[in-house]
Amino acid sequence: MLKFEHVSKKYKGGKIAVSNLNLEFKKGEFIVFIGPSGCGKTTTMKMINRLIEPTEGKIFINGEDIMEKDPVKLRREIGYVIQQIGLFPHMTIQENISLVLKLLKWPEEKRKKRAEELLSLVDMTPDYLERYPHELSGGQQQRIGVLRALAADQPLILMDEPFGALDPITRDALQDEFKNLQKKLDKTIVFVTHDMDEALKLADKIVILRDGQLVQCGTPEEILREPADEFVEEFIGKERLVQAKPNITTVEQIMNAHPVTITSDEQLSNAITVMKTNRVDSLLVIDKEGVLEGYIDVEAIDQNRKKAKSVADILNPDTFSVQKDALVRDTIRQILKKGLKYVPVVDEQKHLVGIVTRTSLVDIVYDSIWGDEELERAQ
């Protein structure tokens, strides 16, 4: 739907605001550009509707090079919402909402109907249609700002810190409303912000920029799980990373990669020795290829000491295991529900790759609850 190919922007005076940006987005995605002030977010966004023209590279919308389209026509097909809201003070709410429709030469009747219809999307009554912008609160004004961008059913909408000037409570409400609206209407949104909470809340894809360069692009989960570098980590913030840990960490990241194992063809006496030397009360049993077969524990050995000779004889094959890319969050739940002491971790071919014990989970819980305090104390 939207594609950047080697896009750069150098302003007069030599300032390189955006350099060699390559990105591609699908229809219906909520894309959030984020980065510190002056990193080129606004510049990038304005290049999409040609308020600013790139010095190098190409931008495609649905495969069409935007530089080959008439800019006026292009802009009528793209919604635009800005932090300063930018409603026209001399026009009524209805005129403001349906301005693009007027430019597109819709008849008056239809414009009015459309404005009413849109107003109902944000739970505002039709009597607002005849009012002027300054009679509305900031939150209401920006709702109208958003509706104006939806009026002609534009498939693509650009938003430059649209909720940045609102108080936190209104901002929160508008974010929720807008996210729902976006899902319902299936729009592609390019959204600029410098607020990480906002980005994590709204985005399907987050694009992190620094000094005009792409640092990382991915889903919120991907970015929380694997921040590309220290800059991203710092930008996300330690607190958020720690908080998000159980939600995004996989068991592979926290497991003990050296579980105590034994192969099923070993003698039981050997198994006892292994247990003793490693001070464990059970052993994971694998075959020669390392595939998990089950487990044995002290109890089973004790009961079957007379009859059994090899590990295979007392093997309990009924083992619960998790995939290595399973989320820690889910694994914790399983462990608590089933009352397990540990869970073996396997890969797609059931090869044993590690073990998660209650102890290693406790570490994580510690981190997320007391992690910060400990850091502070250490300093």
Partner: protein, 227 residues
């Protein structure tokens, strides 16, 4: 007391003459401002677009403004001869500065984010001018017309020197007559009155063209809203 009764007598005896001159005076001023608006508003818009032109044009209009009225009339008379047209042309020249300057200021002061909003919504340059810039600067432009009209009503009194008529005629008669104070006042008072009325009416127009309107509410609240 004498003076007032003299004045009244003059008005009663020469009512139609005073009225005629009043009307003539007003028309000269109005035409001067009208022509200046026809030229000045587009020029103001133009220099708001091309900032480099603005200093040249504005200082030129400024120079015109500083020429003493009598000197201006004299020079114009040499070129254009006697008569009303010369006076109207002089008034036109004096009206240019306030009109150009206010148009320029009005357009320049339109919030840039509004212009960009318009552009981003797909307005052409012409549509931005017509639907955004002009409506939003109309009251400032009107303030320019108001200043111009008040100035020209004052200046038009000297039109009489080159035979253009107007209330200046009555004042001249008074200065030539023995004991002509009442006659001077009979010309001066209507002139002042005209200026005040013009100022009030144009001021009202100016306010009613303010971009931020409240429906069904008085003027006072409007002023507050834009203050």
């Amino acid at each position: 007391m004498d003076l007032i009764s003299d004045l009244l007598t003059y008005f009663i005896n020469n009512g139609s003459y005073v009225w005629e001159q009043f009307f003539r005076h007003f028309l000269m001023s109005a035409y001067g401002v009208l022509f200046a608006a026809i030229v000045g508003i587009p020029v103001g818009i133009l220099i708001a677009r091309y900032a480099r032109l603005s200093s040249v044009v504005l200082s030129l209009a400024n120079v015109i403004q500083t020429i003493p009225a009598l000197a201006m009339l004299a020079v114009l008379m040499l070129v254009m001869g006697l008569g009303t047209n010369t006076v109207v042309f002089a008034l036109f020249l004096y009206s240019l500065l306030p009109i150009i300057k206010n148009t320029y200021t009005g357009i320049r002061n339109v919030d840039h984010t509004l212009i960009e909003s318009g552009k981003a919504m797909g307005m052409t340059k012409w549509q931005i001018l017509r639907m955004v810039e002009i409506p939003l600067s109309l009251s400032v432009i009107m303030a320019g017309l108001r200043t111009a009209l008040v100035i020209t009503i004052g200046i038009a009194t000297i039109g009489t020197f080159i035979g253009a008529g107007g209330l200046g005629d009555i004042i001249m008669r008074g200065t030539n007559a023995q004991d002509g104070t009442a006659i001077i006042l009979a010309g001066a008072i209507p002139t002042a009155l005209m200026a005040v009325i013009a100022d009030v009416i144009m001021g009202w127009l100016e306010r009613s063209l303010m971009p931020v309107k409240k429906k069904k509410q008085g003027r006072n609240t409007q002023e507050e809203a834009t203050a």
